[in-house]
């Protein structure tokens, strides 16, 4: 029963593999085709886009630094919004993390409550939260702080909760064996193990919040975005350029500080 050389055809994929590859490629192609064909696009605008963008950019040079004083103050306000909101969110997220970690939550009901808080906080974007709070508290920094806080609680709570779930069980067992109460076991066996993750996650979120708070102003919730929106509305493109430069500087500084903090503390 020897096979002739001619029969030993080689192919890269087995028929089943080939079929799956073909089907997924077809699905992707179909999805793209459907999107492009039905999307509500005015094609002349698309062909015109490079020219328009180039035009916009040309109107931005040279940047206008005349309102730099106001811009710097707005930057400081942005930093303050991000920092205060992060601190508040950290405080609120601790109990949320506690009830949404499987090994510390008091009972099933609190577990689901915690998960509900995490999911609803995480799946609503900061800007949508900001819309809501601008409607409630009026335009200004309060709406911005509360919006960032609401979004951050989910992020922090989820990651800190996961850190709680990943702790080493052995010290917990040892402290239970000494007759320590539940609250003291948490204090001595769980808290010290979670502290590093807690710092890392808080610093990470502060960095993200710094970026997020640059756009809060676009819906009226304070910070540098207010100036950006004003300049765009008045077609003052040279000031827009200055604001954009300022934002880049802010973001880079935030990244540098958070990287330094992470290295320093952990």
């Amino acid at each position: 029963m020897t096979q002739s050389v001619a029969d030993r055809a080689w192919s890269r994929y087995s028929p089943r593999q080939r079929w799956i590859r073909f089907a997924s490629m077809a699905a992707v192609a179909l999805a793209v085709f459907w999107s492009v064909a039905t999307i509500d696009i005015i094609w002349p605008w698309v062909w015109d886009a490079p020219v328009q963008i180039a035009d916009l950019l040309s109107r931005m040079v040279p940047p206008d630094f005349s309102s730099i004083h106001a811009i710097v103050w707005a930057l400081i306000e942005t930093v303050n919004i991000a920092t205060i909101a992060t601190v508040l969110a950290v405080v609120v997220s601790l109990p949320v993390a506690y009830i949404s970690a499987q090994n510390t939550t008091p009972n099933k009901a609190t577990l689901w409550l915690g998960r509900f808080i995490l999911v609803s906080s995480r799946s609503v974007n900061t800007l949508i939260w900001a819309l809501l709070f601008v409607a409630i508290f009026g335009p200004g920094v309060v709406a911005g702080i509360v919006a960032i806080m609401f979004r951050s609680v989910g992020f922090l709570g989820k990651l800190i909760g996961e850190a709680i779930e990943e702790i080493d069980r052995k010290p917990v067992e040892a402290l239970e064996a000494t007759g320590a109460s539940h609250a003291k076991v948490i204090l001595y066996a769980i808290v010290p193990q979670v502290v590093p993750a807690f710092f890392a996650v808080s610093v990470l979120r502060w960095d993200i919040n710094l970026r997020e708070s640059t756009v809060l102003g676009l819906v009226g919730a304070g910070g540098i975005g207010v100036i950006l929106q004003g300049a765009i509305d008045t077609l003052d493109w040279r000031t827009v350029a200055t604001v954009l430069i300022a934002i880049v500087v802010l973001v880079i500084m935030g990244e540098a500080i958070s990287a330094w903090l992470r290295k320093k503390v952990i």
Partner: protein
Amino acid sequence: MSDSAVHRAWRKPPFIRNPIVRWVMLVACVGYAVWALYTLPFDWDRVAQGMERAARIFSGAFPPNFSRSELLIDGFLESLKIAIVSTLLGVLLSVPIAFMAARNIAAKPVYLLGRGLIIFARSFHPVIVAILFVKAVGFGPVAGILTLTLYSIGFVAKMLAERIEEIDMGQLEALRSTGTGHLAMLQYAVLPQIMPRQIGLAMYQLDSNLRASAVVGIVGAGGIGSTLMNAFGRYDYDFALAITIVIIAAILVSEAVSGRIRRNIW
């Protein structure tokens, strides 16, 4: 054992050993908090009305109003289309940029150019990019697609470049020793090593583009975000809540789907 009688007190060693640094840090933190809260322009009178307004908004929002489902579905489908097209564009464009930005493959000037493009694409919040594109190419999905394409490039190219830097150069060497050409080498030695990561990144990016497309719509770049903004602007809070619920549901579904696909590929 006799000298141990003096050990009647014990203090936990402070977190920061140097007492001067410790006190300066403490004073700086407290000082910053006071100063930040003092300088932020809080409009407490307006905030005080918050409860009342919140009550009005929430009573207006319940029950959520799905009666204009046509508008809702259109907006959602537009978001989906924007996400699909911009993911495809972003993933395709990120491949050459990632190769440019991989230290082990690209020449130094090309590498710097590639890194520069990635940093540029990452430095602005997509909402800021969106508002600029809206000004340049007008309201609607085109601005959204351009924004999210740039957003995708920033993330996918960065991650892919990191993957390319980690590839096994031995495989390249083996092919080079057989006299393989440059393009064939890319296809046989480099692409097989990075393809799974690229598909995983595409799935991840589709998920995050869907989230982001809900937000960039708020500044006029099309999709369900624009629908939400309109509903909010007209004080249709019940419709706005319906839209928010749809956004949350879509995000949860897309997170689950993309997570499952990535697990199967990686």
